[in-house]
Symmetry: C2
Subunit: 223 residues, 2 copies
Amino acid sequence: MKINVMQDVLQANDKIAEDNRQIFRKNRNFVINLMSSPGAGKTLLLEKTAEMLAGKLRLGVIVGDVETTRDADRISKFGIPTIQLTTGNACHLDANMVAHALPHLKLDEIDILVVENVGNLVCPAEFIIGEDHKVMILSVTEGDEKPLKYPLMFHESKLMLINKIDLIQYTNFNLDEAKANARKINPDIDIIEISCINGTGLDRWISWLTDHYQLKQKGLSNA
Amino acid sequence: MKINVMQDVLQANDKIAEDNRQIFRKNRNFVINLMSSPGAGKTLLLEKTAEMLAGKLRLGVIVGDVETTRDADRISKFGIPTIQLTTGNACHLDANMVAHALPHLKLDEIDILVVENVGNLVCPAEFIIGEDHKVMILSVTEGDEKPLKYPLMFHESKLMLINKIDLIQYTNFNLDEAKANARKINPDIDIIEISCINGTGLDRWISWLTDHYQLKQKGLSNA
């Protein structure tokens, strides 16, 4: 008998993800699974997002890291309810880890819940956690060919944020090439160019977030 | 009964890694397992290394990628024997994958074999492949706190290359902080600052490589 361990793992994960999804529906949370390579700028983006959503929509954050609580410490300074998940050696968050975080959040007081995944361009894309959408960040310092080399991440994401646009002049990153590569893998992917340093595109990111939040609310009301 | 799948996997891996190691000893290959985040500059470093070692030591390369043969195509242009391993969904190379590549290389005509791992700061560090040393690249655009957040990679590496030093003025990367963080995890780690764009530190990297190559040759002769 051959046991396909990975298939069993993913099936068990999908079941827990659906439980999470029910909880999010009940609490009317719009949930983003935010993924990228290490150092692509997930945490700084969340700090900017917290600032820009303040007084409009209520943000909550679950942060996954292999070690340290540095990211959660940074985000919680903005008065945002934040849960840190330390994964030990695990290279991604799965639905079960997220499920363990949920009882520690007042979900009925959160509009948008962002789950900041472990910095990794491979494994996080394999695991659904009950999110509405996966959003991924590609920074210009990583190279424009990354969609072809790590296709699953780009295939699974609803939105690609091209970050660190302020650094593009110091790199050989070709924006058109990056977009074409991403669309080869995922023709329908949304793309927004941003910089958390000079503010480029952050208004478009906030619009994307609030538009999709409202879309979910409308869907829940019609259900 | 509880089966620890991961422990079984690692034990099986270690056995194959030891077989690889025997093969490398027989052929007097000095073997580097090169790891980093996606886009930290592994392939460009190998291109520069191929140029600088030309006529001195014979380089061979095994490249692991989730998809595409772009990196192998780049490196083989330098006349270097290069094998591409496409991992599908696997987020790291293991000893068995490397073992499958070895029959396709004329190992007795290679002095230094570099295995370019999948771009990932987590999983590759868990798997030995029969290498003499793990070498990792941290680029300044990723942030100086990474050793604390991804400790295993820094713990397992003999050398940390701090890459993209030419971009440091456009980032908030603190060199002293990065080094201190790495040494908190691994007090004995060697550290070299490099830039493959302006050439900073590449002579030191080549010296490190040739010194450790010679050290292994000496050890093999005395054995």
